[in-house]
Symmetry: C4
Subunit: 233 residues, 4 copies
C-alpha cells in the first residue's frame, strides 16, 4: 500500500516540471493516507531528473519519518499542519511558480476577474501575512501551516484550494495529490491573466457575484453539469 502511495506521489511530483511550475527543486507534492495516518512527500533538494518512486519519504502525523533514505522536504511541517487543519483534503502542493509567486511577493490576494478563476476557486485567492520575527525564528515551517489554517477559519478550504504566503509563494491542495497539482496549474494561469488584466485596464473590477456562483456551481456540487458525471468531484 505504501508502494502505491509513493508511486502516486512520485507521479504527481513529476507533473510539476511537466507543467513548468518548478525550476530546479523549488516545489514539492505530498499525499495522505488518512486511514493509515501516514503521508508521502518529496525528499528535500533532490533533482526532478533523478527522482524515483523509492526516494519518496513516508511520514506519520507526529512528524516522524517512517520510511525513506532521504530527509523529507523542508516544508514537511507545513504540509503536516494543513493535513491536520483541512480534514477533507488528500494532497498538497508547494511551488515557487513564477506568476503566483510574483503576487505573493507583492503581498496581494488575486481578485476573481473571470470565469477561468471562478470555475475552480470561489472568490479572491487570499494572501497570508508575512510571519512575525518570532514565528520565523522558531518552527518557521510549522508556523506557516498554522498561519494558513488560521486564515481559513473564515474561508471554505474546499471552495478555495489555494493560498499565497506573502514574500514566499503558493500552496494548493485537493482531494488527492494529482488534484492538488491541477489546482497549482490553475492558480498559475489565473495569476498570469489577473496581472495582465490589470495592466490592460488599471480600473478593472472583480467579476460580479452571480457569475462566480454560476461558474463555480457549474463544476461543483449537486447541480454541476460540466464534464461527464463519473469524473466530477
Amino acid at each position: 500500500m505504501l508502494e502505491e502511495l509513493k508511486k502516486r506521489v512520485y507521479e504527481a511530483n513529476m507533473l510539476l516540471p511537466k507543467y513548468g511550475l518548478v525550476t530546479f527543486t523549488w516545489g514539492n507534492v505530498s499525499e495522505i493516507d488518512r486511514k493509515a495516518g501516514l503521508f508521502a512527500i518529496k525528499p528535500s533538494g533532490v533533482d526532478y531528473d533523478l527522482l524515483t518512486p523509492e526516494d519518496i519519504v513516508i511520514m506519520d502525523l507526529d512528524g516522524n519519518k517512517v520510511e525513506g533514505n532521504y530527509n523529507p522536504s523542508s516544508d514537511t511541517p507545513t504540509h503536516l499542519e494543513l493535513y491536520k487543519a483541512f480534514r477533507n483534503i488528500g494532497g498538497i502542493v508547494h511551488t515557487h511558480s513564477p506568476w503566483a509567486t510574483s503576487w505573493a511577493q507583492a503581498g496581494r490576494g488575486i481578485p476573481c476577474y473571470g470565469t477561468t478563476h471562478a470555475d475552480y476557486m470561489y472568490g479572491e485567492i487570499p494572501c497570508a501575512r508575512c510571519l512575525t520575527k518570532e514565528e520565523i525564528e522558531h518552527d518557521y515551517e510549522k508556523n506557516t501551516g498554522h498561519l494558513i489554517a488560521d486564515l481559513f477559519k473564515n474561508l471554505n478550504y474546499e471552495a478555495m484550494p489555494a493560498v499565497l504566503c506573502k514574500n514566499h509563494g503558493p500552496f494548493t491542495w485537493g482531494r488527492d495529490a494529482r488534484k492538488a497539482v491541477h489546482n497549482a496549474v490553475v492558480l498559475e494561469e489565473v495569476a498570469k491573466m489577473a496581472a495582465r488584466c490589470e495592466q490592460i485596464n488599471s480600473k478593472v473590477q472583480p467579476a460580479p457575484q452571480e457569475l462566480l456562483d454560476k461558474h463555480y456551481y457549474r463544476k461543483h456540487g449537486e447541480d454541476a453539469y460540466y464534464g461527464q458525471k463519473e469524473s466530477r468531484r
Copy 2:
C-alpha cells in the same frame, strides 16, 4: 459523412493544444454540416491527451444529441445560437487563451493597432457586456450566444470573426473548424501585441482607416492579391 465531420472536428480540436491555446480542457471546437442540419462538437471535460475522433458528439439544431457516448461541451448552446445567427459560418472555437482572456477580463475591446490585426479582422475586436443576473441564472450558455448575436447586428461577422465576452473569454469563427482555429491563433497574437504596444506607448492611437482597408482587402474579396489564388477565401 458523420465520420468525416467527426474526424475534422477532432483534428481541429487537437490544434488548440498544438498552438498553446488551451490548458487542460479549457476550449472546444465545433463544425456544422449545414445540409444535414447537424454539428459536431468536443465532449465536455475530456482531456485532449485522451480525445479520439469517436468521442466527438453530434448535435442537431434543436440542441438534441444525435450521436456520441459523452455529454457535449457545456458551451454547446452558445455554439448553436451562433450557427443560427451567423448563416455563413461553418466552424466555431471557444478558448480561455491567456492574452485574449486577459482583455475579456479587463472588459475592453482590442483596438486595431496594426496590419497583423487588419489582415484578418476589420476594426476593433468587440467586447460583449457581462450578462445580467437573470441571463446568467437561466440558460446562461444560450444567452451568451444571444448576446453575441445581438452585438453583431451592427457588425459584419464575416469581416470580424472574433468576440470577447466580458469576465469570460473569446469566441472565434470561420468558414470551417480549421479556419475558426486559425482565427483563434490570430486573436491571441493580436491581443498580446496590443497589450504590449499600449505599455510601450500609453498614448498610442489605432492605425488609420486607410491602412485597415488596404490590409483587409489585400487578403479578402475580389481584389485580394495576398497568397495563391486557389487558397484565398
Copy 3:
C-alpha cells in the same frame, strides 16, 4: 546557380519558425545575386510546414518573375526597393515578430539601452512614419520601400540593419539572407529587453555614446576583436 540561391533562401526562411519569429506565414526572406541581377524570395502565403526549395520564386530587378510556380511574397516590391537603395546588402527579412511589432505599432524607435543592442545596431532603431493615404492606396509595398530608403538618407544602413514600419512591423537586412535573419533575431531580443527595461525604470536613459562605440566596434570594422578572425564581417 539559381538552385543554390533557392536552397539558401529556403534554408534562411526555415530559420524564422525555428527562432519563433513567425506565426503561420507572417514573414519572408529573400537573397540577391548582384551579378545575375536576380533575387530569390518566399512565395506568398505558403505554409512553412509545406515549403520546399523548389517553391522559392526568382525575380529580376524590374519586378518580373523569372522562375517559380507560385506568386512571390506580396512584400516583394518592398524588398526590390531596398535592394536598389542599399547596394551592399545581400539579404532581407520581414516578419511580424511580436516584440518588434509591438514597438512598430506603438510608433516608437527602440532606444539603445545596452550592449546587446550596441553589439549589432549602432544607435536607436528607427521607426518610419505611417504611409499617407495616397501612398497606401497606390503601390503600397513599393512605397514602403521608398519610405525606408528615404529615412536612411541620414543613416548608415550597414551600421543599422533594421527598421520598424509604424502600424506594421520590422524589416532587417544583412550581407546575405542568413545574416539578415540573424539581425531579425537580435532585433526581437533587443525589442523585448527595451520594453521590459522601461517598465523596470520609467526614467531610464539610453546607454552613453562611448559604450555604443566600444561594443559596435568590438564586433565590426578593422579593430574588431570579438569572435574568430575568419568569421567576422
Copy 4:
C-alpha cells in the same frame, strides 16, 4: 587533468542554451584550477551548436593562452580579474539573459522581494555603475572586472554570487562552473519575478530582514537543514 577541466567547462557552457539563458553566442562560462593556476573558458563567438570540449581555451592567470585553437571569449579579462579578487570561487558565468539584462539596462539593483531570492542571494543584487569613458576606451573588459571587485569590497561575494553591470548584463559565480550556471538560472528567475511583482504592486517593499536570514541560513552554513547533508555547500 586539463581534459577533465575542458570537459567540465564544455558541459557547463552547454547548460546555458538548455536553460534558455543565451541567444546565439551571448554567454560564456569558465572554471579555474587554483592549484594549476589555469582556467578554461569558452572560445569567442563559437556557436553552441558547434561547440566541442576540444574548443575550450586554457588561459593562465597572466592572461596568456596556454592551449586552444581559438581566441578565448572577449570577456576573458573580466573573468581573470574576478578570479583574482574572489579567492574562493571556482566558476564564472556571463550571459545576456533577458530579465537580468533588462534590470542591468534599467540601472537598478534587484530588491529581495521573497524567499526564492533569499534562498540563494543574501539581500539586494547590486548593479555596478557604467564605466567611465576612459575605462571603456582602454582595457574595457579588465576594467569591468575591477569595477565589480571594487563594488564587492563592502559585500560578501560568497553570500551574493551575482552582479549586474549597468547597460550591459549579469555575471554570476560559484564554487565551480556548474554552480555558477545554477546561480545564473536563479538570477534570471528572480529578476523576472521582481519585475512582475513591482507591476502587481507598485509600492511593494523588500522582504523583512528576518525572512532573508531564515531562508539564506536554511540553505547555507552550519545550521543548514535544506536538502541532503552531503549535497549542501
